[in-house]
Amino acid sequence: MAIRRGRGVAAINYPTGMNLGGDPTQALVHSTPTGNFMVTLSSVDLGQGMKQIMAQICAETIGVPTDRVVVDTADTDTGPHCMGTFASRGTHRAGNAVIQAAKEARQVMLEVAAEELEVNASDLETDGQGNILVKGAPQKSISIFDVALSAHFKRGRSISGRGMFLIPRSYPEKETGAMKPSTCYAHACTVAEVEVDDETGEVTVLTVKNVFEIGRALNPKMVEQQLVGGSWMGISHALYETTEPYYPNRDNGGTDFNQYLMPGPGDLAETEIIVLERPSADGPYGAKGPGEMCANPQIPAVANAVFDAVGVRIDTLPITPERILRALKAQAAS
């Protein structure tokens, strides 16, 4: 018996948003009488935390703490249209729509504040804590709470805004394929280290070092959630997952979580995540979509590490113990 070690690398990029564009998302923002802000969307939170991120984006843009923003979403009676949550588009598309809506609301808010403070709106700034200050004279200020009250009950102004983000659809040129698939790309490089049991074909992923470039990490802890979970899924895809384990025979597909294989809590690789941030030109605060691409580089990195360990190439996913063992036997026979 020999446990053999190997390591492999892979580097990838990934487009943000629906390919070729043409995928609009809208947002509405309005303030309550006491200066809380409501973001209205129809986008769906799949568990990645879109509601939280939209709240942070709105808060940053308006100039209030995040806990003063409420996100109402996924209701077609109240929320304006969104193409949907897929293709790493949620943060990028909806985030831009929220910024646009929040900016419009902010402008009204500053205009009301300007009237209250008897200055020009262009001379005002927010402190991020819920106050509006005169630039260069911060002692002259008004709270957003008071501005909202004034707007509602004194000045009859609606502190609200509309946002729409659309990347115009690109139509590929028939013969050359000239097209614009995406406006920004995330990047990653992963190094995986594995052990392969050359008598059974079993693979243990010892470590994965993932470097991701994702534009801007809008909420680093939530980015970490995506990247850690994605890295696990990448390894799972590489070594375990299939609905047709014996294709072209289509029998014996898993129908439960015992048979449909994924790494368990006792199979976890030591996982390191490093994040670089090159803000995208058109993302909300420079964000790109990290949710999909974070599960991609581990697959080839693990495949390359298996080759490095035992000298056989498995070019069909998943890289099961059976495929490795068959390849090792073929290698020994030749």
Partner: protein, 455 residues
């Protein structure tokens, strides 16, 4: 996780108040107390349960369907077949003009994959629906099936889907989406080495812990509220409106927190038939996939085949790359024509190669219809590309990481689809990986930059 702020600090403002802050998630308190409402947490009095009778065959003609015994079964309220669906033949991407309509809500005359929905049974209890479903009699004439993309593309192969007329999706560019850049044959002719390799993948299930489903409530005013875990509210509403020939104003979709999507909940599968059931019975209807259905009936990530032919120089430059990608749509389009197209836009990967030829095919077979999944159109392509890169590096005796630096794209480089590269960061990711993994590369690579005028 570590944020390496030293990279790209010159183009980034780090003094924001809320952005970049690890604020607690607003949804998490609901999750840890069990108070978060998922769609299935709504239970209405008098709710009916929908169970689907499915095809046991990969490809068959339906001679007849007899639902009489099922209809008489105690607890059964309604049995639906194709004739009950106002616009039974649909395709989801028709909303962005990717047709033709090619899929039946309930099978009409033919089934094209094992597991296809044929008859829907609505009953007072799940058990009654299951028992009645077992009493539906469908007489099938089994037809030859095809499960292999290359077999499906051969002349004389069984025709999977008559709405297409051939076993591939017909793009405006023909049988495949094409990208042509430079002169790939000239590139091969001038290469020191040629390497052609083939890669394959299996369908993969999203396996969200919450299965696909919806609960529909008739509001009593000709409107229907559908609580659903779709990933795309209006996408589902608009397709339902088409299928049921019902004004969108009559439909109200409510989502919320979804128990994991990963692309598996963008097909419009459960909502139209459940709303139809609610409309025809006037009762609330629940249609929730069993785990078995989620695993074997819901669309998986497509099986793919990728053939890559590269011309490489001894000094490490890739000078020509030809990629032929095949996406197995299964029996129906769903999102696969879009996925194959996305592959065409992604190849040849994040590398600058002067001569590129790409063909991507969306192929129909009698396998379970595939659709979107995390990394759609790219994930399997990246597996193929990056294993190929490893092989190329070893072929010319070069370190695999250094080999990637030589070919990595940088700002301003022209991509094969004729967009100049912007915002590249592959080089920096590799530099940081080199450090983190203690995989040293030559100093000249560590000095490189993705910026246009970088070293």
């Amino acid at each position: 996780m570590e944020l390496r702020k030293n990279y790209f600090a010159d183009v980034r403002k780090d003094d924001l108040h809320e952005i970049g802050q690890p604020r607690p998630r607003s949804d998490s308190p609901g999750h840890v107390t069990g108070k978060t409402a998922f769609f299935a947490d709504r239970n209405f009095p008098g709710m009916l349960h929908l169970k689907m009778v499915r095809s046991p065959h990969h490809h068959a003609r339906i001679r007849s369907i007899d639902t009489s015994e099922a209809e008489k079964h105690p607890g059964v309220v309604k049995v639906l077949t194709a004739k009950d669906v106002p616009h039974n033949v649909y395709t989801i991407l028709i909303l962005i003009q990717i047709g033709p309509e090619d899929e039946t809500v309930l099978a009409d005359g033919k089934v094209r994959w094992k597991g296809e929905a044929v008859v829907a049974v609505l009953a007072e209890t799940e058990r009654a629906a299951q028992e009645a479903a077992a009493k539906v009699k469908v007489d099938y004439e089994v037809l030859p099936a095809v499960f292999d993309m290359e077999e499906a593309l051969k002349p004389g192969a069984p025709l999977v889907n008559e709405y297409h007329g051939q076993n591939y999706y017909l793009y405006d560019s023909g049988a495949c989406r094409k990208v042509r850049f430079g002169d790939v044959e000239a590139g091969f002719a001038g290469a020191d080495h040629i390497l052609e390799q083939s890669y394959q993948s299996s369908p993969i299930e999203h396996a969200p812990t919450e299965t696909t489903g919806c609960v529909v409530m008739p509001e009593g005013n000709d409107r229907f509220t559908c609580y659903t875990n779709t990933q795309a509210m209006f996408f589902t509403l608009d397709n339902t409106s088409i299928i049921l020939q019902m004004p969108g104003s009559k439909l109200h979709f409510v989502g919320g927190t979804v128990g994991g999507g990963f692309g598996g909940k963008v097909d419009v599968i459960v909502e139209p038939i459940a709303i139809l059931g609610a409309k025809l019975t006037g009762r609330p209807v629940s249609f929730i996939y069993s785990r078995e259905e989620e695993m074997q009936i819901s669309s998986p990530r497509a099986a793919e085949k990728v053939v890559i032919k590269d011309g490489v120089m001894k000094d490490g430059r890739i000078i020509a790359r030809k990629v032929t990608g095949y996406t197995d749509a299964g029996a129906y389009s769903r999102h696969s024509p879009y996925g194959a197209q996305k592959g065409a836009g992604h190849y040849p990967g994040p590398y600058t190669i002067p001569n590129v030829w790409i063909d991507t095919y969306c192929v129909y077979t009698n396998r379970t219809p595939s659709s979107a999944m995390r990394g759609f159109g790219v994930t399997i392509g990246d597996f193929a590309l990056e294993v190929q890169m490893d092989k190329l590096a070893r072929l010319i005796g070069m370190d695999p990481l250094e080999f990637r630096f030589i070919n990595a794209y940088r700002d301003g480089d022209m991509k094969a689809h004729r967009q100049p590269t912007e915002g590249a960061a592959l080089i920096e990711c590799m530099q940081e990986a080199s450090r983190a993994a203690n995989w040293p590369v030559a100093e000249k690579y560590m000095a490189m930059s993705s910026y246009k005028n970088g070293a």
